[in-house]
């Protein structure tokens, strides 16, 4: 099974034989890939019980938990990498979650839908309504995304947190984007260290 574009970029960047914690790991696609192709000691956290059950049934080590609360249980630098894919914008406090990511992992990967993508901007500007696009497909009243973020905002947050951006990737329609990324990227992935 092929990985979603942001996960494929993360999987490619992760070194073999390392320890990885995937926060909000869903059905465990990234974890299974890392375990099977890079001999990674892959662990996950996921809030949805059905997803966790599916992960455990594949032999993955996944804990049902709420990243807003339960990341605090992990020791400092217990992992080589932490991964937060398309979950930051659902966090109660994305800034505090970024702190936890960088505390628990030596490096952190964060991917998110870019709210400044031109489709989102035009939906709001021209339509006058909260955008519903292929990147953020759920209506305002039922979306789990409570903290929309743009590429610019994230760079600013990383700077404030003293996090160094090691690498970055941008995608639109599953294809890489270069240049004008705050306009053109539907999704962004950052690799950070501190």
């Amino acid at each position: 099974m092929s990985l979603r574009a942001d996960l494929a970029a993360i999987a490619e960047a992760i070194a073999p034989d390392t320890r990885v914690l995937d926060i909000g790991c869903g059905d465990g696609a990234l974890l299974a890939n890392l375990r099977d192709t890079k001999q990674v000691d892959a662990r996950g956290m996921e809030i949805d019980g059905t997803c966790v059950e599916r992960c455990v049934a594949q032999g993955l080590s996944v804990v049902q938990g709420d990243a807003n609360r339960d990341l605090a249980d992990y020791p400092d630098k217990g992992f080589d990498y932490t991964v937060l894919s398309q979950t930051l914008q659902t966090a109660t406090r994305p800034d505090l979650m970024l702190d936890q990511l960088l505390r628990v992992g030596r490096q952190a990967f964060v991917s998110f839908p870019n709210f400044a993508h031109w489709r989102t901007r035009s939906a709001l500007m021209l339509g006058g309504r909260m955008p519903v696009t292929r990147a953020i497909p759920v209506s305002w009243y039922e979306t789990p995304n409570i903290h929309h973020v743009t590429v610019k905002d994230f760079r600013e947050l990383a700077r404030e947190k003293g996090a160094k951006i090691e690498r970055e990737w941008f995608f639109s329609g599953g294809k890489p984007v270069t240049g004008g990324t705050n306009w053109r990227a539907e999704f962004a992935v950052f690799q950070l260290s501190r």
């Binding site: 019980g49 049934a57 032999g59 080590s61 049902q64 020791p75």
Partner: protein, 363 residues
């Protein structure tokens, strides 16, 4: 399916946490499936408070099917075509392993002369059994409820003996409420005049009334309010109107009485005292300097904890407490809270999600 019934007397005295030791301790156990050549496919199942070794074969007293037939057998989640499953009656119990009803060296039953034991003592007995069976490392140790406590104790105290540790609907310590319910049961037994300070084995009348009350009280804690309401509601038992007396007017009363009296036919009252005491004494953190994470420091085993949303006896928060400690210790741990309506007893009942989790984790 047929299990292989065996008994084995431990060659060495078994030291106990309370001081003292058990000499010539006999353990009765069942095995299912073949042990492979390199002795690496053994799974130790640990039974609950009133459970026994008859996991997947008929109970010799009641004739009822084994207590985990739905989970253990050929092609089942714990597949006996692939794994050699061992389940031993714990020490202190009454289905063939040494306990208060066993003969002491003077030829009389131990009764209350039996030493007070702990969960770790039970596990020490199981580890001694594994030594005798020449099984160095278990593929997995698996247990629900008190069985889960044993699995955790084995992982903490004999960390090299199991590669996988599966703990279902259990806890790392007995709460005040857990102890309170057990004390209620013990007092019911000890208040029965037929209990005779534990020396009832020769007597005609047994402390059945007390033991039945203990079982009735405990049985309520194994179910959820939702399950009781669903099953019985306020329905009357074999009558159209209330009797204005103290017969079992309600179905739920009749059910509890049936559970209580059925239990007395297969369980020893003194064993109930000793095993509940062992559970009440259980506090894995206390054994390890007050910090649960210490209990699992450096463990190489993979862990899986499962709780049920309707279990108020060992609620999800207890499993989370263990998971937190395992995470702090850097252990490989999975945890899931499954949705099931049956309360604590969910681990024994039809919960397909549990089957999938058990199968996935064991493989």
């Amino acid at each position: 399916m047929a299990g292989a019934s065996r008994t084995l007397t431990l060659p060495n005295a078994l030291p106990l946490d309370g001081g003292g030791e058990l000499v010539d301790a006999t353990l009765a156990f069942e095995t299912y499936g073949e042990l492979n050549e390199d002795r690496s496919n053994a799974i130790l199942l640990c039974h609950a408070l009133t459970g026994d070794q008859y996991v997947a074969s008929p109970h010799p007293v009641t004739g009822k099917p084994g207590w985990w037939e739905r989970m253990v057998g050929p092609g089942k989640p714990i597949d006996t075509n692939r794994y050699h499953v061992i389940c031993a009656n714990v020490i202190g119990s009454c289905m063939g392993s040494i306990g208060p009803a066993s003969e002491a060296s003077d030829g009389k039953p131990y009764a209350m002369r039996f030493p007070v034991i702990t969960i770790r003592d039970m596990v020490r007995g199981l580890v001694a059994l594994l030594d005798e069976l020449e099984i160095e490392t278990l593929h997995a140790v698996v247990g629900g409820s008190m069985g889960g406590m044993q699995a955790l104790s084995l992982a903490a105290n004999w960390p090299d003996r199991a590669a996988r540790v599966l703990v279902i609907a259990s806890t790392s310590r007995h709460s005040a409420q857990n102890i309170a319910f057990h004390e209620l049961g013990r007092q019911a037994i000890m208040a029965d005049p037929n209990w005779r300070q534990g020396d009832y084995y020769e007597a005609e009348d047994q402390p059945d009334a007390g033991l039945a009350v203990a079982r009735m009280a405990a049985h309520i804690t194994y179910l959820s309010e939702e399950a009781l309401t669903e099953k019985f509601g306020r329905n009357l038992q074999d009558r159209d109107a209330k009797s204005f007396g103290f017969d079992a007017d309600f179905q739920v009363e009749s059910y509890l009485r049936y559970q209580g009296s059925g239990f007395t036919r297969r369980f020893d009252a003194n064993s109930y005292l000793y095993i509940t005491r062992a559970m009440d004494y259980f506090d894995l953190a206390e054994e390890h300097g007050g910090k649960l994470a210490n209990a699992f420091a450096g463990t190489g085993a993979r862990f899986c904890l499962v709780s049920f949303d309707s279990d108020w006896l060992y609620p999800t928060s207890e499993s989370r407490h263990v998971v937190r400690a395992l995470n702090a210790a850097g252990a490989a741990v999975s945890f899931v809270e499954l949705s099931a309506p049956h309360g604590h007893d969910s681990f024994l009942l039809d919960v397909p999600a549990l089957d999938r989790v058990v199968k996935g984790f064991i493989e």
